[in-house]
Assembly symmetry: D3
Homo-oligomer: 140 residues x 6
């Protein structure tokens, strides 16, 4: 197996908050991440795809195409936005790094159906140097 990975970055605000819970319980669960006005990160997302390597190109997939997909599926909707208020894919979803990884997986996987033989392998969402999430899809 061989994977190629492309990284994309964006800067966004978010707030960890479950509107179905009380203020007290939100604070107990999310702590300072529950701050009403939000806080923010320079997010980085690394997306890995796998496939065979055609002799003609030597590439699992055109990196420019993968980069364009990440722009459309991740950077454009999220960069310089508040994830809770401005981004459709997070409506009704608490924007934890876990949920970001799952949402980005769906968006990228949908675009990759146009590339036969190429499969999404993993999505890594890096919130800061100190914490990141890796998701390997609903079937892993």
């Amino acid at each position: 197996m061989i994977t190629i990975t492309r990284r994309v970055e964006f800067s966004a605000a978010h707030r960890l908050h479950n509107p179905e819970l009380s203020a007290e319980e939100n604070w107990r669960i999310f702590g300072i991440c529950n701050n009403a006005n939000g806080h923010g990160h320079n997010y980085a997302v690394e997306v890995s795809v796998k496939g065979a390597i055609p002799k003609k190109t030597g590439m699992v997939m055109d990196l420019k195409d993968l980069s364009d997909i990440l722009q459309r599926a991740i950077h454009e909707p999220c960069d310089h936005k508040h994830l809770n208020h401005d981004v459709a894919m997070f409506e009704g979803i608490i924007p934890t790094a876990e949920n970001l990884a799952i949402a980005f997986w769906k968006g990228v996987a949908a675009e990759l159906t146009k590339y036969p033989g190429v499969k999404l392998h993993g999505v890594r969402v890096i919130e800061s140097r100190n914490n990141f999430v890796e998701y390997f899809g609903p079937d892993a």
Copy 2:
């Protein structure tokens, strides 16, 4: 001259917006940084101080003390906050990286008056790998 530098990090939301200007002019000046709900960064701040090196300690200043000052003057008021709404030192100030550097300089310099022979040399505010600001004080 010798300087020692200590780094501190915090995650915060902010919005570049001048309430005295129209929505159109704000957008023209600040672009996507004017997004109404804000966006965010993992900020890093590097604070440099200078002074002589006493033979007894071999240190310009106790790094633990400098670290404590940065916690009080920078990390505690700003981490997991929205700089426009939650942080007293930015009331009435557009929270650009330039203005953060000046505000942090003031806060740190005030604490350093307790350390005779030690002088604040510079404050670097790093918003992302791609842009940072360096401030060397009102007299530089």
Copy 3:
């Protein structure tokens, strides 16, 4: 499968030395890492856990809890210590990166038994940018 990873750092001295071997054999096996007075590193340890994502929290596990565990199991016993002389968990163990990873796995896994549904996935011990070890547990 989804994993969340938390990073912790510590600065420590160590010496690669097997007291059951001769000085010559220790030098042959460990080279400069056998220096009698030790040498040191800024270690980083990345610990990954896996589990389901409760809809209520959107998190595999509270990152603050994971961070507290890493403080107790890794940072507090090791930071600003000599791993051979000052740290109980390395008594009788050569403090190679491999053995550090196994010891940290044990310490963290013991604490995680309090979190039903959360499992330790991997421990990465980074000695320097140029070498690191990854351990996926006794059953992997």
Copy 4:
């Protein structure tokens, strides 16, 4: 399972070009990477091996030996070279990151046959912070 990973770096030029295709098709497939005079990167390669940990050494493998292998198999043939014109292992091969990973795997695996109980686990070729390839061997 436990792996140890060693990193090696080199600076090289390369050009993505398939001599069996027309200039137009090369441009269509490889874009700016097809520039006739080539371009270049600071490559980093991380090689992971796995094995048991002998109690006597506490190490899967002597890191100095692994480092020497990477010097011979990767750094010496490639550093400060043009991968298309100067490096025997890439004759007739388009030097994409994918093909580099496969070629380095072969070279390192051949040397590792001298180390019973140690197996090559993975090769990561990092072309830039934004893209890298991971190869886990012909049997993975």
Copy 5:
């Protein structure tokens, strides 16, 4: 004094070679950097400008404008190119990091004349993690 710094990156091949010298002398001076087919780097360039901070904007200069200048003056002419053969600003110039810094200074300074009150402060050319050049202009 306050400076803001913007970073831009490009990947390029180059060769250190003085055509007025013999092959032997070129090799003696430039060593492996004289390899006939060139080698390459992921270059990063950090450009710092200084100026006053208008209360209206809180910014020395619009970062988007600075970013656009760096795209035109540095990234577009150099990215995925061979600096010796493909880039007009290096005709007749040995593309050492020193000469890159001076050439980029000239290109950026020419564009900054449109911004009254903003002055170019420094250009840092980073060839690799292990070596970089800083240029503070012909008057420094």
Copy 6:
């Protein structure tokens, strides 16, 4: 002015301790850095030199020569050593980052006297990502 900077790294143990003071005072001043068995770091040192740029070479100084000097003056005496016990240049000196910077300055400056027109500009000693020291010489 133009400077070129070269980076060198080493891994070492050290202990902050003044033998002329009591155990209590050492602990009060140096805290955990006073641990009797020492602790350690992956140190990085960045050395900057300045000079004119001869048209013939386009380089302030041959980087290979500067690299060799750093190997002899910094890496060889310090790597995989205990700075307090194994390194002659620190005899009678508390090995704080400040004192390291001054000692390295002396060693490098002595070697640079063989290079007319080249002057040592600065020495940066990086103990960890969170703290570093910069020294600009006895005349700065």
